[in-house]
């Protein structure tokens, strides 16, 4: 039972982390994509795609994490959560930088065109 509770805490923390990342980056990304009329039709695709990607990355990490056994001390559970979160951070960083690279490519290709 304790293992399930700790695993649920990990899921909740991961969800909060995803929401924070999405909320922090969504508005600047929106403003960036809105600035160029050649790119702006695809704005909502890239924004929603980003949100989905962040949650998929988190889901991939969560589903690989086994539930801890129920015979540990409190601090051991904390260490377990921290270790699991480390993997989530790695995964999110990787996908985030990948998406930023895609947006950079978008502006390399289309950024030189300006509105008439």
């Amino acid at each position: 039972m304790a293992g399930l509770i700790v695993w649920s805490v990990l899921v909740a923390l991961t969800a909060v982390l995803c929401i924070v990342v999405v909320c922090a980056l969504r508005r600047p990304m929106d403003e960036l994509l809105k600035a160029n009329s050649y790119i702006s039709p695809a704005r909502s695709f890239y924004l929603r795609g980003f949100t989905i990607l962040v949650f998929l990355a988190a889901l991939a990490t969560i589903c690989k994490t086994d539930m801890p056994s129920g015979d540990k001390e409190f601090l051991e559970y904390v260490w377990w959560v921290v270790a699991a979160l480390q993997t989530t951070f790695w995964s999110l960083s990787f996908w985030l930088i990948g998406y930023v690279a895609i947006l950079t490519l978008l502006f390399v290709v289309l950024g030189r065109y300006h509105d008439q």
């Binding site: 009329s37 050649y38 790119i39 702006s40 039709p41 695809a42 704005r43 909502s44 695709f45 890239y46 924004l47 929603r48 795609g49 989905i52 990607l53 998929l56 990355a57 889901l59 991939a60 589903c63 690989k64 086994d66 996908w95 990948g98 998406y99 895609i102 490519l105 978008l106 290709v109 289309l110 065109y113 509105d115 008439q116």
Partner: protein
């Protein structure tokens, strides 16, 4: 639940769940994709991109699913696989992981394809603006919106 029953249920549930997740992703992104690709310039290509998107996501998720095999060094036969419950759980987790990762990669790849589409459309639009004689319709920058 016996190990064999668990294998049946988890195998098909993982496949259906992954395909469902891909279909859900396609549904969430269908509207924005329509907005991005439905214009007077390159309409056929836009239509093709819209039609291909759900199939692309579902097929990629299923590719992730089938990329996981139950056979490894310690499990050579069906009987050995079914006897090991921990192995079954591990493989189910791996299937879900692979489907999610493949789906994320598919999404990123489609974002790159969309960049190519936007670039091609911009090129066509600018060519029409710069060469009015070849201009078949009355195109302006507003046409891409």
């Amino acid at each position: 639940m016996t190990n064999e029953q668990y294998l049946y249920v988890s195998y098909f549930a993982a496949a259906v769940g992954g395909a469902g997740l891909a279909a859900l992703t396609a549904m969430v992104l269908a509207g924005p994709l329509r907005k991005a690709t439905k214009t007077q310039i390159l309409p056929q290509l836009g239509k093709l991109l819209r039609r291909a998107f759900p199939s692309w996501l579902v097929l990629t998720a299923l590719l992730g699913f089938i990329s996981v095999t139950y056979f490894d060094c310690a499990h050579h036969t069906y009987a050995e696989i079914v006897a090991d419950r921990a192995h079954l759980i591990d493989k189910t987790q791996e299937q879900v992981f692979q489907m999610t990762i493949f789906l994320a990669v598919a999404l990123i790849t489609y974002a790159v394809v969309l960049i190519a589409f936007l670039w091609a459309r911009t090129q066509q639009l600018r060519a029409r603006i710069e060469n009015p004689r070849e201009n078949l319709g009355n195109c302006s920058t507003n046409d891409i919106r």
